[in-house]
């Protein structure tokens, strides 16, 4: 039974692992930290998995556990968040769309997003994943109105960071 549970979990996570990578992408800046957070999220997902009922989508459930781990449970915030080693992550854009200015712009954008605080990053993450405000508010435990207001403020903040 346990073997089966383990097997199912590993298969599901292998399939959906990009969600975890994306959380790590926003909350860490270099590969070691990325891998470290990936591991912690995996452990938290596994610990919570026996209670996963399947009434929610596995991916939705992963958003919650992944963000909670990054925002609340994960300890090593200083070492990972305050150093900007963005270079280690190359921005690969498909060849046919390759555009130097766009790549530059993206780089600046990621840098700007990394300057946001943990909660703001969570909102940006869910926004980028095209979650609606209802789901954002349920994941973070704030009201829908506040999520919407905050999102607008974040957009403005990003504008200010990018065009000082």
């Amino acid at each position: 039974m346990d073997k089966e549970l383990e097997h199912n979990f590993v298969a599901l996570l292998e399939e959906h692992q990009n969600i975890v990578h994306k959380v790590c992408r926003l909350y860490t800046n270099h590969r070691d930290a990325h891998n470290d957070l990936f591991q912690e999220i995996t452990i938290q997902l596994w610990k919570a998995y026996p209670k996963f009922r399947g009434d929610a989508k596995f991916s939705t459930w992963m958003y919650r556990v992944g963000l909670n781990t990054a925002i609340t449970l994960y300890r090593k915030s200083k070492r990972t968040v305050n150093t900007y080693e963005l270079e280690t992550f190359q921005f690969k854009i498909k060849a046919e769309e390759y555009d130097d200015t766009e790549e530059q712009q993206l780089k600046l954008l990621y840098q700007a997003v990394h300057q946001l605080n943990d909660i703001e990053k969570a909102l940006v993450f869910l926004y980028l994943e095209e979650k609606d405000y209802r789901e954002i508010s349920e994941t973070l435990g704030i009201s829908e109105v506040n999520a919407r207001v905050k999102m607008n403020r974040i957009k403005n903040k990003l504008k200010t960071i990018l065009n000082p």
């Binding site: 990936f38 610990k47 919650r64 943990d118 990018l162």
Partner: protein
């Protein structure tokens, strides 16, 4: 174009750029131990409970305590000891109950509140212990004043010299000083351990609360 829209476009395309973690690697990962703050808070809290339990246990065996046992103090000391253990059991139960409530699948705010609650339980327990220590000191002092022959004779000498007030004041101040130093050291460790451990959580919790204003 909205800055975030550009990011969103890239966000969806970047699926292929992440390193693919194999099933084997995932198997290995789930065998590893978590290093989450919840685990650390749990360990530190257990140590605190153990520390206070040991402290009262070891103090029982010291020379002073044995000297003290010869005096008629059971009517005060036994109820205090029983009270100490009952309260320890109560706080431990409360702590365990709160700890069980922590679930990574709750929303971020509830999760943070539940973690802070376990921490608060332990904090209350420590405050209780400090108060309890102060009360015990007062009780001990009272019995010393009342029954310790060496102490009474010293007090009488002091009184004969007209320094009774000074003598009592000095004794009480020394006791109060010991408690104050002990409390200060403890609070410093607290500030250090929990400050470091919970700084991120506190910051993010405040940020979430701020959204509700």
């Amino acid at each position: 174009m909205d800055e975030l829209e550009l990011l969103k476009k890239h966000w969806k395309q970047q699926d292929t750029e992440y390193p693919k973690v194999s099933a084997d690697a995932i198997y290995k990962m789930i065998l590893k131990r978590s290093s989450s703050i919840v685990k650390w808070i749990f360990i530190i809290s257990l140590l605190e409970f153990a520390l206070w339990a040991c402290l009262s246990f070891f103090l029982k065996d010291t020379e002073n305590a044995q000297h003290f046992d010869k005096m008629d103090s059971d009517y005060l000391i036994i109820p205090l000891t029983v009270l100490g253990y009952v309260v320890l059991a109560y706080f431990f139960f409360l702590f365990y109950k709160n700890y069980r409530k922590i679930s990574v699948t709750d929303n971020a705010k509830v999760l943070m509140e539940n973690i802070l609650r376990t921490r608060k339980t332990v904090k209350n327990y420590v405050f209780f212990n400090l108060a309890f220590m102060a009360i015990t000191f007062v009780a001990v002092l009272y019995i010393e004043f009342d029954q310790d022959k060496a102490f009474i004779s010293k007090a009488q000498t002091a009184a004969a010299n007209g320094e009774a007030f000074m003598f009592y004041a000095k004794t009480i101040l020394i006791f109060a000083g010991i408690i104050a130093v002990f409390a200060a050291v403890l609070l410093f460790f607290y500030w250090l351990i929990y400050g470091l451990l919970l700084s991120k959580l506190n910051r993010n919790y405040k940020e979430l609360k701020k959204l509700e204003l």
